[in-house]
């Protein structure tokens, strides 16, 4: 049998999805599993998007331009204007989800062996995309004690080597819910300019900011050729399955090159583009309701978590995730145990162990990410379940979080 590639060995299994077999077994045993492990909302897809799909008129589902439908790109220009982001339809290519925008950017900008700096914990697939393009991830650790704020600019700069080619930031952040301040972004701008780096700004959760103000990276001055906005329709219109995203940049060389990579895969999905275009006209009422619903869920889950003995959960300012430190020996083991050996009222919970969001070894060992993508009733059941699980778990370890709890009752909770 021929060998697989070396990058196949380096390629991580999704930390979010690898518990799936255990969850499937639990379901087979008749246990109801609350899925807080993955950013798949239960909220109905934007009605405008759904209607566009059901009313599709074209007799042929055909390839679009490799850069995506011009009408969709024009519509996105309008959309970005709402945030004072000034771009043209030629500054973007429509991608198959935000995922493809990231992978095309890495392929187009970085050579094998180049480095990209990523504040950790980070969206686990950044590591996967770096692996597919043979790029090395240099993590810079943000810590729960400090609500996962950006580390100091000096710490950041100390990570830059002669192979450093890019920085990626996710704002609001998945998995931490952290919202970068204008000042933090200006500091990054300074580094990007000084060292002539690419800056990938993943802002797919911009519509979901609960406290504070979203400052678009596109507002940073003087780094127009360095900046790439990564976008996706998945989260704001509750339509992750559309696979419609965008790569946006004022750098003409990069957009022309990105288009060559886009041509290789011919075109992004047609129906996703039609639905995405319609989704941009989603009513304010829908968006407001969705926003209020997530805020309600956030407030509930963060409160419930912090009320559990030994649990610390900083308040996320945006996106629909929170990170929690648990009084356990090993969160990965706990996340397995809760599915395989535990149930409460015939229910269990699927969580994402945070170790998969760190590339520094042995980091985040007590942390989990919870996506508040279920309604408050289900969250109530989930938290009840989790509370009992933590009490029963054989590896319970209150020491794990005690110092944190003594230190920072200011930062955490509501």
């Amino acid at each position: 049998m021929p060998k697989l590639s070396e990058r196949s060995a380096r390629m991580p299994e999704s930390p979010i999805r690898k518990l799936v077999p255990l969850a499937e077994q639990a379901v087979k045993k008749g246990i109801k599993v609350h899925r807080l492990n993955i950013g798949q909302p239960d909220i109905h897809t934007s009605p405008e998007a759904m209607q566009a799909i059901r009313n599709i008129k074209a007799p042929v589902i055909e390839y679009t331009h490799s850069a995506g439908l011009e009408s969709l790109r024009k519509k996105l220009v309008e959309y970005y204007k709402r945030f004072d982001i000034d771009v043209t339809p030629d500054d973007m290519i429509i991608t198959t989800g935000g995922s493809e925008a990231i992978s095309i950017t890495l392929l187009a900008c970085l050579n094998p062996g180049d480095e990209i700096i990523v504040p950790e914990p980070f969206y686990a697939n950044y590591f996967s995309f770096a692996t597919t393009s043979d790029v090395n991830v240099t993590p810079i650790t943000s810590v729960i004690d400090n609500n996962y704020a950006l580390p100091s600019i000096e710490a950041f700069e100390s990570k830059i080597t002669n192979r450093t080619k890019a920085i990626i930031i996710c704002n609001p952040n998945n998995p931490t819910g952290y919202l970068y301040s204008r000042e933090e972004l200006e500091q990054i701008r300074h580094l990007v300019k000084k060292h002539d780096l690419y800056l990938l700004a993943d802002e797919v959760y911009r519509e979901l900011v609960f406290d504070g103000e979203y400052f678009p990276a596109m507002h940073l001055k003087g780094i127009e050729d360095n900046l790439i906005l990564i976008d996706s329709m998945s989260k704001r219109y509750s339509a992750t399955g559309l696979r419609t995203g965008a790569l946006v940049t004022k750098n003409k060389d990069l957009i022309n090159t990105a288009l060559k990579f886009g041509q290789a895969r011919l075109a992004p999905p047609y129906v996703g583009q039609i639905a995405g275009e319609a989704a941009i006209d989603t009513s304010t009422q829908y968006l407001n309701e969705v926003h209020a619903e997530y805020k309600k869920r956030r407030d509930f889950i963060v409160d419930a978590l912090n009320k559990m003995e030994g649990v610390v959960c900083p308040m996320p300012k945006g996106a629909f995730y929170c990170m929690a430190k648990l009084p356990v020996d090993d969160a990965e083991k706990f996340c397995q145990w809760i599915l395989s050996d535990f149930s409460y009222n015939n229910q269990s919970v699927m969580l994402a162990p945070a170790s998969g969001f760190y590339s520094t070894k042995n980091s985040g060992k007590q942390e989990v990410r919870l996506a508040f993508v279920l309604n408050v009733d289900e969250l109530k059941e989930s938290m009840e379940c989790l509370k009992h699980a933590l009490l029963q778990y054989p590896g319970r370890d209150l020491e794990a979080t005690s110092s944190l709890i003594q230190k920072s009752s200011v930062n955490i909770g509501i």
Copy 2:
């Protein structure tokens, strides 16, 4: 401004799509441009697929399993049974078009610097996918004099080095329309086994065979762990915009690894999968009508081309492309000229210069690929246009094809 990657420089522009600006200018001048350059059929999408899209029931367009919907994979198992291809739902992952099946396979199987042997002329994007994974393409040239048949097994074997890791074949072939015989495939099987190579079999045109019999690579014995079937719904259901394909293999290590790459991009498009699943139940009547329509077009266009002075066009046995050698100094120049400096009855034709389908330099300089994806009335107008263009073209060169015409009136035409 930071530099782009080295692979960006190597990445080719699509030879099929780079004439687009000239065509757009012609259209602006009021010229009707017949597009024979790209495999985008005018034939209506399978009604079953369309209906599935319009009747979509789910309230949330959500991520599916990273390997694709289980129901679609089960349905594909049924579909492959029609061709005596025996696989299970666990032997495949659904991909975003055949494109992604190829790129995941290359990423999973080949290291940077490894070589893949490809009979040329070949589907141009093979070269692009090789570039994105830093793999080298080793072409083995098939020639128009021999109807683009597979070169001898000795010629094939002489290309194998210690870096050779895979062979890719497209059957029926894009761009040549060639259909590999069982004997040819058995010879390839022999090589694959002897040198323990991967064999990528791109069989997306299997439903469009007009002469001879399609022999599925999956029928080859003893190379189960070496073989990867690349598939796509795009062509057989006239639904290129769905972006629904599949990577199919009995090699368990490979399928597990491919899934890791699949997890990175989360899931293939939801609507494309729903439509693809329904498309497998497309009526025989539709499939027969489509088949008959393409055959009619093929017969017409190949006859019309061979009737033009100095033009040679072997009869394709499958797919919906033909390659023609033209009496011109340089087909690329001709394809530009016909759009920018020519019109006949206010019409012009967009063709794909074949040089982009070769990786051997200066190959295919007089050849073009024509996709017979328009109806016979439009093809008539196109051929009338082309005939006059060839007569008027300043770089007309009857010498270019004369030896070929003298040699082989047996092989070519109908």
